[in-house]
């Protein structure tokens, strides 16, 4: 089982994502933004950070990186793709997920242990959680406020495509949305960072590892 982790110029959390993939029991494959192929991976993680310095808009430049043409193509064929933080922003800019992430309503960078509720455990990345499970993982962003028009939000809720909600809204995200999925459930975007919560030694616990073990079950 090979899971690719893309490094863009300005990615920060690619090393932790690689580590989480290995910790879950998969082989991690480092992918570079300029790559023209996905090196035979079975799934892809787009990690957090500030790709291309967040120039223009978060994720707007990364969305056109050569590797993203391959990721978008593979996602359309059902390959599991998880975008965390900046990765979520890239997935929205790529139109693989609806909505957008704008600056936190309180205008400050937030860095905290955040409680979430898993609302959809039928995606490729959340099957190892119980529906309604409450977990604590790290949240750290300046532009993490999820927005979409009311019609889109209604559709996401109606179709069960809200993957996780904040318990205590940290950034002004509409309807407390922390993560969403596409119609097929293979593409998930999540603002908080499960890769920082996989071991007791550091971080707020091990609640995040389920995202990485879930995809192994999805790929069996």
């Amino acid at each position: 089982m090979k899971i690719g982790v893309v490094t863009f110029p300005g990615s920060l959390d690619d090393a932790d994502a690689v580590r989480a993939v290995r910790h879950a029991g998969a082989e991690a494959v480092s992918l570079w933004h300029g790559d023209g192929d996905l090196r035979g991976v079975d799934a892809v993680v787009l990690p957090g950070g500030f790709s291309y310095g967040d120039y223009l808009r978060c994720g707007a430049i990364a969305r056109f990186a050569p590797v993203m043409a391959e990721v978008i193509d593979a996602a359309g064929r059902g390959m599991p793709v998880l975008g965390i933080c900046n990765g979520f922003q890239i997935l929205c800019e790529s139109h693989l997920l609806p909505g957008a992430l704008i600056r936190n309503d309180h205008r400050k960078f937030g860095c905290l242990d955040q409680r979430l509720r898993i609302e959809n455990n039928r995606t490729a990345w959340t099957s190892q959680y119980d529906e309604g499970a409450e977990i604590t993982i790290v949240l750290k962003n300046g532009e993490g406020s999820f927005v979409a028009d009311a019609e889109t939000l209604d559709r996401l809720e109606g179709e069960g495509r809200v993957v996780a909600r904040y318990l205590g809204n940290p950034n002004g995200s509409l309807r407390d949305i922390a993560g969403v999925t596409n119609e097929a459930g293979n593409v998930v975007g999540l603002m908080p960072h499960p890769e920082h919560a996989i071991e007791d030694l550091c971080g707020p616990g091990v609640d995040g590892i389920g995202f990485f073990t879930s995809v192994l079950h999805a790929l069996v």
């Binding site: 707007a60 609806p98 957008a100 927005v147 028009d149």
Partner: protein, 80 residues
């Protein structure tokens, strides 16, 4: 050579925290009577050759594809 300007603004219904921060700063500096501030982006594109309808249409495609995110922003194109 011609200069085409693309102005990008957050949609009216989208919260604009940066605009709010500027609006909050103005009265602290003694500037009063400003009831709202919205902050956007201005792109100045230098184009070679003549400005034609086709060129303007291409600039609009640039604005839709890269310069703005239609989910949260509106844009307008003008020729200087």
């Amino acid at each position: 050579m011609a200069r085409v300007v693309v102005d990008v603004m957050p949609k009216p219904e989208i919260l604009d925290p940066q605009g709010k921060a500027v609006q909050g700063a103005l009265p602290r500096l003694g500037f009063t009577g400003v009831t709202d501030v919205r902050q956007g982006k201005r792109f100045e594109l230098e184009l070679d050759g003549e400005i034609t309808d086709e060129r303007i249409a291409e600039v609009r495609r640039m604005a839709q594809t890269l310069l703005s995110n239609p989910v949260i922003e509106d844009f307008s194109v003008s020729v200087l």
